[in-house]
Every structure is written in structure tokens, then in C-alpha cells.
């Protein structure tokens, strides 16, 4: 196992190096000019030239790439073209917001997806199953921005029981940002009311972001549980008179979980990359909106460094998922 993890970690080096080159070239191949984005309608040919010079965009490509790469080797992700902020600081400030939103979405998706998947599998062919299939299809198909706006309209405006946007009620709670995890910072500040308020702010965006993963997890769970229920050992367990609950938990669910864990791992990796639509609709200052704004503004430094860090996180999450297989299924051995 140790060797396996070490090998995977070593593989990170060529992967990330390739990625830096790919992203570096890709964003420069796209139409758009950071200098034009900065100056807007005030751009003049001379002004554009001055900004390009100042940003180092007039240097040959290989020199620009080397500047970028040598910065990374010194753990320096650079500064944004647009606001001069340190990219690493900005990432660390936004990433906790994304993590909180991701966890809320996954709690919603897993908390409902696995039980509903089990239920529809056990009730295969009944109206419950049909209803579940239709619901999951709707869940996968519904556009997030539409769902988000509807959730806000219904639960924050028509029936104002939940907050409409943001991470905390700013007018009520002045929470010092220590970790940038709002739930943790409220507790550190000793604000129980703020903690509940932060949780309440997670509900609607969590549902909006978690709906597609919920539908996917539910469908995978259902298919996997149906497969496992047809296995001989389940029939044996039932035949020897074990209680239904014991069979479900010990024999069916545990064996059916492997593909579900894979899907959850992939979803986790994807969600940690940020959710542009959800973050925009709910004014959630996470990494998705950050990268999106950088792309819109051609802020090369933020795009290339931000994508690199997110890719690293995605790869590490996947590695963690692979490692978790061994714990879920002792038959899996890595060598």
C-alpha cells in the first residue's frame, strides 16, 4: 500500500508539469487580452502596449512559462493581473467556502441518495421505484441556475424561512475570519447564533449544488444494490434466517458501496473545483466564481495557478478514494 501511494504521488510530478504547460498554452491560445480586460473602453493602442509590457506579456512565451514555473518551484503562485492580490492568499481565503458548500451538498446528496437508492432497489418495479427514477432523471436534468433561483424565490422570498444568499447575516454577525470556514469561525468567536445562521445559509445552496450528485448517487446505489441482492451470499444470508436489517447493512450495502464511493469521490473532486452557478446565484465567495472571473478577465496568473492547485486537489482526492477501497473491500490489494 505504501509503495502504491508513493508511486501515485511521484506520478503527480509529470502530470502537474504537463498540466502547467497545457493550461499555460491553452489560456494564451484563447481569444482575449488581459490588457484589454483591464482597460475596457478606455483602452488605447498605447495604453494596451503599456499594460502588456508591465504584465510581462510582451516577453517570449518560453520566458513567460519559465517565470511561471520557477515561481511555482519557489511555492510562489504569483499575483493577480487585475487586483495584485497574492494568488495563494486568495485561494486560501476562498477554498474554505467551497469546502463548506461541497460538504453541505454531499451531506444532502449522500444522506438522501443512498437511502433512496436502497429503497428504490428493494422496491424494484413498484410505483416507488418508478417515482424514484423519474425524480432522479429530473434531478440530473434540472439546470442549477433555475433550481437555485426557484429555491431562493420560494424559501427566501415568498416564504422567508431561509436566507437568500451569502454565508452569514452580515448585518447581525461580525465574525472575525480566522479559518475562513464560517461554521468554525462562528464557534471560535463564541457565536452560537452565528453558527446556526451559518448552517442555515448552507441549506439552499447545498440543496441546489447537491441535487445532481443526489440523483447520480441514488441511481448508482440502486443499480449496485440490485446487483448485489442477486448474489448467492445474499440469498444464503436470507435463507439462514438473518434479519432483513442485518442482511441489508452487513451484506448488501457494504458490498454495494464500492461503486457508490467511486462516484462520491469523483463528485467530491468535481465539487471542490468550485461551482460557478451556485456560487454566483447565492453570492458564495468560493473558488468557482474566482476562477470564472479570472477567465472572464483573462487574469492568466490566477487561471494558471488556480487550475494547478485545483487539479492537485482533484488528484489527491481520487488517490484517497482509491486507498479507501482497500478498507471497504479487503479483497482489493494494491501492490
Amino acid at each position: 500500500m505504501g509503495k502504491f501511494i508513493l508511486r501515485r504521488l511521484l506520478l503527480l510530478i509529470p502530470i502537474l508539469l504537463g498540466l502547467t504547460l497545457l493550461v499555460f498554452l491553452f489560456i494564451r491560445a484563447l481569444p482575449g487580452d488581459p490588457a484589454a480586460a483591464i482597460l475596457g473602453e478606455r483602452a488605447t493602442p498605447a495604453g494596451l502596449e503599456r499594460v502588456r509590457e508591465a504584465l510581462g506579456l510582451n516577453k517570449p512565451l518560453h520566458v513567460q512559462y519559465w517565470d511561471y514555473l520557477s515561481g511555482i518551484l519557489r511555492f510562489d503562485l504569483g499575483r493577480s493581473f487585475i487586483n495584485h492580490r497574492d494568488v495563494a492568499d486568495d485561494f486560501l481565503q476562498r477554498f474554505p467556502a467551497t469546502v463548506e458548500l461541497t460538504l453541505a451538498a454531499l451531506v444532502f446528496a449522500i444522506g438522501l441518495g443512498i437511502p433512496l437508492g436502497m429503497l428504490t432497489a428493494k422496491r424494484r418495479g413498484t410505483w416507488i421505484d418508478s417515482l424514484g427514477s423519474v425524480a432522479s432523471l429530473v434531478g440530473i436534468s434540472i439546470p442549477i441556475f433555475f433550481l437555485g433561483l426557484m429555491l431562493k424565490f420560494i424559501f427566501a422570498i415568498q416564504f422567508p424561512i431561509l436566507p437568500d444568499s451569502g454565508r452569514i447575516s452580515l448585518a447581525e454577525y461580525d465574525i472575525p475570519r480566522v479559518t475562513n470556514f464560517m461554521t468554525i469561525d462562528t464557534l471560535l468567536a463564541g457565536e452560537w447564533g452565528g453558527f446556526v445562521d451559518a448552517l442555515r445559509h448552507l441549506v439552499l445552496p447545498g440543496i441546489a449544488l447537491g441535487t445532481i450528485p443526489l440523483a447520480i448517487i441514488m441511481r448508482i446505489t440502486r443499480a449496485s444494490v440490485i446487483d448485489v441482492m442477486n448474489e448467492d451470499y445474499v440469498r444464503t444470508a436470507n435463507a439462514k434466517g438473518l434479519a432483513g436489517r442485518v442482511v441489508d447493512n452487513r451484506h448488501v450495502l457494504r458490498n454495494a458501496l464500492l461503486p457508490v464511493v467511486t462516484v462520491i469521490g469523483l463528485q467530491l473532486g468535481l465539487l471542490l473545483g468550485g461551482a460557478i452557478l451556485t456560487e454566483t446565484i447565492f453570492t458564495w465567495g468560493g473558488v468557482g466564481k474566482w476562477i470564472y472571473d479570472a477567465v472572464i478577465n483573462n487574469d492568466y496568473q490566477v487561471i494558471q495557478s488556480g487550475v494547478l492547485v485545483l487539479a492537485l486537489i482533484f488528484i489527491l482526492v481520487n488517490l484517497a478514494v482509491d486507498v479507501s477501497y482497500a478498507f471497504l473491500n479487503p479483497r482489493i490489494r494494491y501492490s
Partner: protein
């Protein structure tokens, strides 16, 4: 089975419990509507206002900002030597300088600073502090210069600088000596990027070291304004607190929180949901929803203009730059004929655009300068505008030799992925004007490109489009900031964006730019406006008003067409 239902029930119950925890969110929404009938009355101190802007500040170093959203925050913290009177675009009032001397046609400006003003870090404002700020900006490195747009425009770097010297002649007097008269110099100094920062803070934040400056990112008590920037979390909020040691009338609010909400619809929802109590740039199509929802709509008269750029040389320019567009440009541009350009202006019903795209709030742009400008009238009096007249447009096209068998074909561009206060819906405006042009016999070939892409801004400003939308929001109230910037000659060549090669325009521009005496200056710029409009080098379309929305319990906000607005006068009804 029971066990599974238990999972389900627990998850559902958890959501219900969280939803049922009726916290402050609901109560703040309720209080907003409950006090809607409260009215303004005597200002009351206290309270927290959460205000939705489109985004936060690009930088926290005022000298490095140039956009309205950055100015919104930083003008509450940093103050300039002179300021605009509330609601005015051109009446100057004292800022950090209590009085000043200097004539538009002179080269010496003397500013007498207010006594007893302290920076928020406790140090005193004095003449040396002002000199240190201007010297710092003048000595900006290349990297900083790229962001210090307005210093470059108003004053200029290096040899381009209009300033000969800045000196502290005594502890409270600063004298600016210019190389030559510059009648717009004082107006430029009103911009928040010329806000004076405490020299001690400049030093402690390494403000002149591009790699290590923290002034751009960290909230510091560096200004003299009515609010202190207490915290700043990018993409989340900027929190300002009242400066209790402010030299002037102190702010009423305890705290002002600016929250960035990019989407106008989301800003409206946040106001409706009660998480904010005011926001800027209401979508014109939402004006009804704001007033019907029991909120206040605060109108900001226009200081912007949408125009249609016409370039008779666009096809030659595109060919020279080896640009190929789809569909391709073919043949000679009909815009070379003045009658065709006049026909375009006569074909457009500018008034019809206002209810359709500006929520009925805006005005027809007869000249480039909006009606809020002190110069608008003299510009408009200088020429006879081509009023909407479809029959006249058809006749002009016919006179120019165009008919159904030989139509005037024009390539008409609009930008995508952008809205501007003067251009709320580029695609819709394009469609509407295309229809008007086709109604009089033009054949319109539509083109679009992304705004930030060099394809639109770059190619448009480099004169490669027959017809294109663009606009301008004024920096200060002077025709030079409008006609001058757009039509200035490059040597002997007319501005490439319009290719407006009109006899006498270069001389007229030179005369107007160099004229410092106010009346003569107005007449000189009116002559420029006449040459440009008579020759239809561009068609000014609409001055779009913008609006803010507030909850009923918020009072005292005074909008200014230039966006020069203070939150110090804002107060909220007591709970």
C-alpha cells in the same frame, strides 16, 4: 425497512430544524417592510447597512483604482483635495483643502489644507503628506503605472506630466505648478484615485514595492474619510465602520457593509429576501418590481452616452490588418457618402429605444454630453441634429444612388458578454436598430464578438467596423473628456476608431484643447461638436439613467451622475 426510513427521517428533520431556526434573517426582512411607512425625518445614528454592489474593489490602494465599484468603497475612506458638491457634476467644493486659488487659464494652484484633520492612524494631515502622495504617484514603477490609469490621464507620467512641481510652501499649503494651463486639472483631482493616504501607512505597507505592498490587499486606517475600512474579504464583503474622529459631520451608520453580488437579478432577490438593504445598478426591466415590492428607487441621472460609431474606412483598415470576418466585407463602404451616414441617423428612432431598453429612464442623446453636463446646451446649439425621419432617410439613400437592386450594405457589430449602464442589452439594441435601418432600405449584415476580446474593443477602436456600438461614462464634466478623447488626431491622422477625416477638425480640436478661458472654451468645443455631428462621424443614441434601490427604512442617499456618492449622509430608521 424501518431503519432506512429512520435515515430518511433524520435527514429531513435536520433540514426542517435548520429551516425552522427563524434567525435574524427573517426578522430583518420583516423590519424592512414594517418600517416602510416610517419616512425620513431627523437622521438617527446607528445601524448597519448592507449594500449590494456588482463587485468589490479591484485594489485597496486608491491610486491603483479606476472603476466605479472600487471608487464606491474607497471614496468613503480616502478624501481628495477638492470634491464635487452633492448631486453636482461640476460644482467644486472643498475637500481636504478648505480653500484653493487658481484659475483655469493659469498654471499655479494653491491649496490651503483644513486644520485639525487627522488620518485614521492618528497622524496629522499636512502639506508634506499631500506632496508625498503626489510624488509617490509620479514615481510609480511600470507595474504600478499599468493600473494607475487616471494618474496617466489627468497628470501623466514622466515627460508627459502636466505638473512642473508640487511643493509644500508651509505646513498647511500645497502649491501645484503646471507646465501649461490645464482647465480640467481640478476636476481630475476629484477622482477617488487621488485620495490622500497617510504617509506613515504608505511606508508601513511597503506601498511602493510592487512585489510586497500590502496596501493593495489589507484594510488599513490610512484615510481621513468618514468611514474606516475595518475588514475586507474578497468576493465576500468589505466592512466599513464609522470614523468617530472624522473632521466633518460624522457618518450616521455604525457599519456599512458592501457585499458583491454580480447579477442584478440576484441583487434584487437579496433586497427582497432582506439580506441587503440597498443596491446599485437596478436592471431597467426590474424598476417596476422594485417599486411594486415596496422598495425605494433612487434615480441617478445619466452621465453616459451610447453611440453608434461609423467608420467609412473600416474595410480598408481591416484589409490592412489582414482581418477576415464572417460574412466577409465586400466592396466599397457606402459610409463614404455623407448622405448615407445622414440616412443612418435619420432612420433611427432614438426615443423608441428608451422605453424598450432603459425602463423608460434615459434621454435621447443629441450630443455626446448628457444633459447633466454644464456644456450640453452649448454643444447642442451648435448644429442641427438629424432628427428621426424615415422618409428623409429613404430619400437620402436614393440620392446617394442606392435602391433595392443596389442596396447600401453595412456591417453592423455589437459586443457580447457585457452590459454597461449605457448599454443594458447590446444584442437587443442591435436587433432594434437593425430593424430601423432595414425599414429605410439598408441591408444590414450582423456581426458580434466578445467585449474583452481584442475582436470587439480592439478591432472596434482600431477602426475595423463599419458600424459599432460603444459608449462612454464621463470622468469629469468637460467636453475634452468626451469629444476630445474620442476624436483626438494622431499626428495628421484622424482618430482611427471613426476615421473622421473632416476639414478643419484637427485645428478645431487643437484650438478647443488649448483654450482655457471658460466661455471661449465652450465656443471652441461647440465648433468641434458641429464638425463631428454635421459630418455624422458617429451617431449619439441614448443617455441611460441608472438607479439604486433601497429598503424603505434607509434614507439620505444622494445620487450623483458621476457616481461621486457618500454614505456618510445615509441613515436608517431606528428599530
Amino acid at each position: 425497512m424501518n431503519h432506512r426510513w429512520r435515515y430518511f427521517s433524520i435527514a429531513a428533520a435536520l433540514m426542517l430544524v435548520l429551516a425552522a431556526c427563524t434567525g435574524t434573517q427573517t426578522s430583518s426582512s420583516a423590519s424592512a417592510s414594517a418600517s416602510a411607512s416610517g419616512g425620513g425625518g431627523e437622521p438617527t445614528d446607528g445601524g448597519t447597512l448592507v449594500f449590494g454592489g456588482a463587485r468589490l474593489s479591484d485594489s485597496l490602494d486608491p491610486a491603483l483604482t479606476s472603476d466605479g465599484e472600487s471608487f464606491r468603497i474607497l471614496r468613503q475612506v480616502y478624501e481628495t483635495l477638492v470634491d464635487l458638491a452633492p448631486g453636482s457634476t461640476n460644482e467644486l467644493v472643498g475637500g481636504l483643502a478648505e480653500t484653493w486659488e487658481g484659475e483655469p487659464d493659469g498654471t499655479v494652484y494653491t491649496f490651503h489644507l483644513r486644520a485639525g484633520v487627522k488620518f485614521q492612524d492618528g497622524t496629522d494631515l499636512n502639506a508634506d503628506a499631500v506632496v508625498a502622495n503626489f510624488e509617490r504617484m509620479a514615481n510609480f514603477s511600470e507595474e504600478f503605472q499599468a493600473s494607475a490609469y487616471y494618474y496617466g490621464q489627468v497628470i501623466g507620467f514622466g515627460d508627459d506630466s502636466v505638473i512642473e512641481s508640487v511643493e509644500a510652501t508651509d505646513d498647511m499649503t500645497v502649491v501645484f505648478t503646471l507646465k501649461q494651463p490645464n482647465p480640467t486639472f481640478l476636476y481630475g483631482l476629484v477622482l477617488p484615485c487621488f485620495g490622500i493616504v497617510s504617509p506613515a501607512v504608505l511606508e508601513s505597507t511597503n506601498a511602493d514595492d510592487f512585489e510586497n505592498t500590502t496596501l493593495t490587499t489589507d484594510p488599513v486606517p490610512g484615510g481621513t474619510g468618514p468611514f474606516i475600512l475595518e475588514s475586507y474579504t474578497p468576493d465576500d464583503n468589505a466592512t466599513l465602520v464609522r470614523n468617530d474622529d472624522y473632521w466633518g459631520e460624522k457618518a450616521h451608520l455604525d457599519r456599512l457593509i458592501i457585499q458583491p453580488i454580480a447579477d442584478p437579478a440576484a441583487r434584487l432577490q437579496a433586497l427582497q429576501g432582506g439580506s441587503i438593504q440597498g443596491f446599485d445598478l437596478v436592471n431597467p426591466s426590474d424598476y417596476g418590481a422594485v417599486t411594486d415590492g415596496g422598495f425605494q428607487l433612487v434615480e441617478r441621472l445619466s452621465f453616459n452616452t451610447l453611440y453608434l460609431g461609423l467608420n467609412p474606412s473600416a474595410r480598408e483598415n481591416a484589409a490592412a490588418a489582414e482581418r477576415t470576418y464572417d460574412p466577409p466585407y465586400e466592396g466599397e463602404s457606402p459610409l463614404k457618402d455623407l448622405r448615407v451616414r445622414q440616412a443612418i441617423e435619420k432612420a433611427i428612432d432614438k426615443q423608441a429605444l428608451i422605453p424598450a431598453f432603459y425602463g423608460d429612464r434615459g434621454s435621447v442623446a443629441t450630443t455626446f454630453l448628457p444633459e447633466t453636463s454644464q456644456w450640453a446646451e452649448s454643444m447642442a446649439g451648435a448644429f442641427t441634429p438629424n432628427e428621426f425621419d424615415p422618409d428623409g432617410a429613404r430619400q437620402l439613400l436614393s440620392d446617394a444612388g442606392f435602391d433595392e437592386s443596389n442596396p447600401a450594405t453595412i456591417h453592423f457589430w455589437y459586443p457580447t458578454e457585457v452590459t454597461r449602464p449605457y448599454m443594458p442589452d447590446p444584442a437587443g439594441l442591435h436587433q432594434a436598430i437593425t430593424q430601423m435601418l432595414e425599414d429605410v432600405g439598408f441591408v444590414v449584415v450582423p456581426h458580434s464578438d466578445i467585449w474583452d476580446d481584442p475582436g470587439y474593443l480592439f478591432d472596434g477602436q482600431n477602426g475595423m467596423y463599419d458600424l459599432h456600438f460603444l459608449g462612454w461614462t464621463g470622468d469629469w464634466d468637460d467636453p475634452g473628456n468626451w469629444y476630445g478623447i474620442h476624436f483626438a488626431y494622431d499626428g495628421d491622422d484622424p482618430a482611427v476608431q471613426f476615421g473622421c477625416a473632416v476639414d478643419g477638425l484637427k485645428d478645431a480640436l487643437d484650438t478647443a484643447s488649448g483654450e482655457a478661458e471658460t466661455t471661449a472654451r465652450g465656443e471652441a468645443w461647440a465648433q468641434v461638436a458641429k464638425l463631428i455631428h454635421d459630418n455624422v462621424c458617429f451617431v449619439t443614441l441614448v443617455h441611460g439613467d441608472t438607479a439604486l434601490a433601497f429598503a424603505q427604512n434607509v434614507h439620505g442617499y444622494e445620487a450623483n451622475p458621476t457616481g461621486s456618492e457618500s454614505f456618510a449622509t445615509v441613515f436608517m430608521d431606528a428599530e
